[in-house]
């Protein structure tokens, strides 16, 4: 709890430190604008046109519905990856045999390109939520699993020995030793998994569903509507950045302060 308050206290300073990042975003937009002037609207609509289209889209209830659908699928897939992946990883971390057995499976899962999974999932689940969520889980769960596994396997006896001599009660050992250590491994894995989940959701939707942002993107594509396509992409990137930089990054920074 103390750390939560600390994060909130540090938040204004953290936001202020974002000036550098904001500057580089603006630089990027400037380059984009130059691109538009060179290549024309059919290939690369201008930033202004894109943001204008985006504003119009947000007023359209169909678009916000698509957004909700995509968000829901991402959250379900990511949520399951998070809970199951962490649990399995912790479990495997405590049992050496389990971690040895899981290693080749994880390698295979992480080695297969998500697009191959989408094709299989479409055959098994048809179009719709299940295909998308399945693909997200297959891509994100191994990431979380490995993080939790490493967090548990790297627990060192030395702290436990020290704590036992000081007769530290079990609850305190859990919250003061196991949890912070494991969290420092698991949290970065969660962040990575979230980014992955978001990318996968849209890709899966583009290919395998008829609703959601990905499907909207597919439609914009077949209508040769580059401005809408770009606007949808900007919306997606924007959402991910908000999730990462407002919620996740502050927590990550706290963890990184003590980690060498």
């Amino acid at each position: 709890m103390k750390s939560l308050l600390k994060i909130l206290r540090d938040f204004p300073a953290y936001l202020w430190s974002g000036w550098g990042a904001i500057a580089s975003i603006f630089l990027f937009i400037a380059a984009w604008d130059i691109g538009n002037q060179v290549y024309g609207d059919m290939i690369l609509p201008s930033p202004i046109e894109t943001f204008h289209t985006l504003a119009t889209l947000f007023k359209d209830p169909d678009f916000t519905q698509s957004l909700m659908i995509t968000l829901r699928r991402a959250m379900v897939g990511f949520g399951i990856s998070l809970v199951v992946g962490t649990a399995l990883g912790l479990f495997a971390g405590f049992f050496v045999t389990a971690s040895i057995v899981s290693r080749p499976i994880v390698t295979i899962l992480m080695g297969m390109p998500p697009i191959a999974w989408i094709v299989l999932a479409m055959i098994w689940f048809g179009m719709g939520d299940a295909t998308v969520e399945f693909t997200v889980i297959v891509a994100s769960l191994p990431i979380v699993f490995v993080g939790a596994l490493q967090g548990t396997r790297t627990l060192e006896d030395k702290f436990e020995e020290m704590a036992d001599i000081f007769k530290v009660p079990l609850m305190m050992k859990f919250f003061d030793i196991y949890l912070p250590h494991i969290f420092s491994y698991v949290f970065p894995a969660w962040v990575a998994a979230l980014g992955m989940a978001w990318k996968i959701v849209v890709m899966a939707e583009l290919l395998a569903t008829s609703d959601g942002l990905g499907a909207d993107l597919a439609m914009a594509r077949s209508q040769l509507d580059t401005a809408s396509a770009l606007a949808i992409v900007v919306a997606m990137v924007g959402l991910l950045m908000v999730a990462e930089y407002i919620f996740l990054e502050p927590i990550k920074r706290e963890v990184e302060k003590w980690r060498d």
Binding site: G126, L207, T209, A218, Q223
Partner: protein, 327 residues
Amino acid sequence: MKKILFVLSVLLTLSTASQKLEKIIVAGPAANVSHPIFKMIEDGALKKYADKIEFKLWKNPDQLRAMIINKEVDFVAIPTNVASILYNKKQPIKMLNVSVWGILKILVRDEKVKCLEDLKGQELVVPWRGDMPDIVLRAIMKKKGLAKEDIKLIYVSNPMDAAQQLIMRRADNILLPEPATSMVLRKTKSFPVNIVAPTVFRGIDLQKEWGDVYKREAKIPQAGMAVVGDMIEKKEIIKAFEEEYAKAMQWYKTHKKESGELVVKHIDMFNADAIADSIDHVQLDVKRAIDSQEELNFFFDVLKEDNPKIIGGSVPDEAFYIKDSLK
């Protein structure tokens, strides 16, 4: 002096007129609309104007758009609504003719199903949500008074997925364009698919439904040839192309077996027999675009009512059409 200049300018004009191009590039999708072009290539049509005709296959809108923006094509076989979108986006494209007037069929498992009303209470799998087939279907349903709940529309991303649902018995009815329809029918009758797949029939002709409901001919101006970029100025070549294409289409319609084999030579994803089958079931009829304005405008209006973006915002004006050239 004036005489010499006059002679020189005539010679110059003649020479430019007879200046042969290295090649004429024609792009098109895998569908029937492109197939006459292969005959044109075989026969060396237009050899007066170019050393050869080259065919480029476009598989998706992105490829098509890239080709047009980069001026990599002279003529393109294209769905009419896509031509409209490009025209409205100020791309250099004009519609030359409409050659395909009916490709939309609904494949069913129950041979008693003959019209849309027979599908009440059932599911229908439709590829390409929001695209032309979907809009046409829903427009007809609406005009017939069929509510959304009467036929449950299930969307898939492309015709192959729809076919898969049918073969795997997950769907009983699917909307497909030709030649996919003929391909699926061939496949379901042949080994080993025929073990798993159910028997399937060409149940509903969407063009007929269209005709019934709008009190028009059972024809929808779906695709044809368009002229792109600098070629638009070359009236002579355009006229020649128009004639050769019509000739080739005539041959295509009357030489089904040879056509099937010819197409397979150029596009390997097809089965020659399936192509031959499809020729019977597609309404192929070359009509100049400018003479088809009434049908096109009606078609575009129906599409526009559902979603203007599918025609690029507005019904294209007169300048969209190639006019009679050498007048």
